[in-house]
Amino acid sequence: MTRLAIRMPKMSMTMTEGEVSSWMVKVGDEINDGDIVCEVMTDKVDMDVESPVSGTLVEIVVESGLVAVGEPIGWVEGEDDGGSFGDLLMAPETPEQVEAPVPEPDPVADTGPATPEPEHPRPSGIVPAVPRARGLARELGVDLATVTPSGPEGLVRVADVEALAPTTQPATQPASQPATPSAPPAPPQAADSTRPAAKQSDRRAAIRAVVARTMTPSAAIPQFTVWRELHLDDANATRNGLSWTTVLLRTYAASLREVPELLSRWEDDRASEAGPPSIALAVATDRGLMVPTFSEPDLGDAADVDAEIREVVAAVQKGRMDRSYLGIANGSLSNLGGLGVDRFQALLTPPQGSVLSLGSIKRRPVAVPGGVGTALTVEAGLTVDHRVADGIHAAQLLDRMASRLAQGSPQGSTQGSTQGSTRA
């Protein structure tokens, strides 16, 4: 005599569980294979459950309630006639497994793109262009042949056409050279498939490729930079050990709230709705430039934010960045002051609206009533995307920053804008 299970049967293709609703037999009853023992409600129908075994019902596991298909709902003591075939599937598998032949993985192609291209007869006169770029070129009266393509295999993208479009506003062009017409970025496959020996230069190449891919479009954006020497004595007196990065990051973020134009990003041919400040902090690592993004860093306790920034920067320098810092930024902060640079002009990272560059913080001679004195200063440069904002907005931003730093309390809460000048 053995214990044989009555299990919740699968009664339709989609059924995964059933609800036992009532039993027709009780413990102690003699039941035969085929007798109805209980009723079950399923996703499709109400069904009678037949016992697959004969014997004495010794246990009802579930009087009523949900049971998964295959689980026991009752136990019968009877003769095991071998009919519990499902148990064979639960038994540990026999050592000799029949192995289906595993196809050999294809050796990875060493060079060339993954899909073979049909041979295109080259001189056809048609410049390959993304359909929107072609349309835009037509609209703007730009000849595609004069456009410098930034896509692979000479593909003209929208930004490439925009770069040639005549503009009405005299925007200050960035002093840096525009990116050279692209060497196409190294195809990812090639980087992965090359021999392990040349890892270092491959990684460097990959890093440069990423930067090229990100910053080349920056050359097509009309951007200008506004400079201001910010005085830091007051802030220095009250910062209580907070790092300058923390102080200036929070001041930048708080000030951005007061000039919402700069919180827009240029996307889909228009300025997006201003969102809360989310600032990418440029951190130099031996993996290249990493940019953890801090959301609304001007909120919350300054000391907490300071600790957070230190922690994240340390982690990033070790090559680790938590997912929560991978958010989308609408501004950036870049600081080269530690290496003695006085001032520098940062390039915009599209599609952000602005980027704040900071030079070295040191004591410099300044004009004071009656003569010359010294002050702790930093040269701040704000580079702005002219499509989302104008010079006045850039000036306002730096002015707000100057005010806050002068107040000595660069916290997030604004005391109401004290800005007097009207917007042009």
């Binding site: 299990r7 049967p9 699968k10 009664m11 339709s12 293709m13 995964t16 085929g34 499709k44 129908v45 109400d46 069904m47 697959p52 998964a68 298909v69 295959g70 006639d81 071998g82 009919g83 519990s84 075939f85 499902g86 064979l88 599937l89 038994a91 598998e93 026999t94 000799e96 497994q97 029949v98 192995e99 289906a100 196809p103």
Partner: protein, 325 residues
């Protein structure tokens, strides 16, 4: 070679073993499905074993069959490999169809099993076509075409039987009438009393037989097969039987009474046959028990072995759509 179930001990043994193997196979499938260990749905032929076994015993090894969605018994009767059948149902790479066909498409073309079919009536024109091929090539194979009562109401039945009749194709049409399509009874679905009488509409003989009497089924099908082999054309055989289980796994059996089911269960064809062979002294009790045990063991082995095989592999699915020249 054709072997009668009741003339010799060997025949009796083969019949009994085949029927028990079919029964246990279906019970295994039932159990595995009920436990959620098998995918899809299953159409079980429990109760119809004598019909499938008796008919298949009347065929030569080089004859062919076409079968239905309720076709495990036909496949087993035609000598299918139990492990490959079970592996197919368990969606293994070693199944008859490498897991691509499932229960309704088991076939072993090399040994004359031209396939089960998921379309009611789908196999009937195919059977006629295979018979046409044999006739064109001057070969004396015969095709046994299995289908149910419901299929005789499909246009394909009408067209194929007519073609077979006008061309005197070497095919035997075996209708396993288990009295219900899915839920619609034969009383409601036809205006004639028997399916066998439909044969006269095509000018071919129609013969009824008790489908639960394996020896009777053998006799009738054997005669029809010989007629076809001699070039005299097709026969329509109506094998009256009953299925103990519902049409498929979602069948609540609302269309028939418990009394009806239980009445037929009491007339279990396998137990009936055991009585007959005992009475005639063809097999002893030990031999009968041995057949039962062997059947159970072979199914348990099939389940175990099939389960140990690797699962069906999706990586070459697209390659399998077209045959390469």
């Amino acid at each position: 070679m054709p072997l009668s179930p009741i003339e010799t001990a060997a025949g009796a043994r083969h019949a009994l073993l085949t029927m028990w193997t079919t029964r246990r196979f279906e019970e295994a499938v039932d159990d595995l499905f009920a436990r959620g260990l098998m995918h899809g749905t299953m159409h079980l032929s429990i109760g119809q074993e004598a019909s499938a076994t008796g008919a298949c015993m009347a065929l030569r090894d080089d004859d062919a069959i076409t079968s239905t969605h309720r076709g495990h018994g036909h496949c087993i009767g035609k000598g299918a490999d139990l492990t490959r059948m079970m592996a197919e149902l368990l969606a293994k790479e070693t199944g008859y169809c490498r897991g691509r066909g499932g229960s309704m498409h088991i076939a072993d073309v090399a040994t004359g099993n031209l396939g089960a079919n998921g379309i009611v009536g789908g196999g009937i024109p195919i059977a006629a076509g295979a018979a046409l091929a044999y006739q064109l090539r001057g070969e004396d194979h015969v095709v046994a075409c299995f289908f149910g009562d419901g299929a005789t109401n499909e246009g394909a039945f009408h067209e194929a039987v007519n073609l077979a009749a006008i061309w005197k194709l070497p095919v035997v049409f075996i209708c396993e009438n288990n009295k219900y399509g899915m839920s619609f009874s034969t009383e409601k679905s036809m205006a004639v009393d028997t399916i066998a009488e439909r044969a006269s509409a095509y000018g071919i003989p129609g013969v009824g037989v008790d489908g639960n009497d394996v020896a009777a089924v053998y006799d009738v099908v054997h005669a029809a097969v010989e007629r076809a082999r001699a070039g005299d054309g097709p026969t329509l055989v109506e094998s009256v039987t009953y299925r103990h289980k519902g049409h498929s796994k979602s069948d609540k059996n609302l269309y028939r009474t418990r009394e009806e089911i239980s009445e037929w269960r009491d007339k279990d064809p396998i137990l009936q046959f055991e009585g007959v062979v005992r009475e005639r002294g063809l097999l002893s009790d030990e031999e009968i028990q041995a057949a039962r045990t062997e059947a159970m063991e072979s199914i348990r082995n099939a389940v175990r072995t099939a389960n140990a095989a690797p699962d069906a592999d999706p990586s070459d699915l697209l390659d399998a759509v077209f045959a390469q020249a």
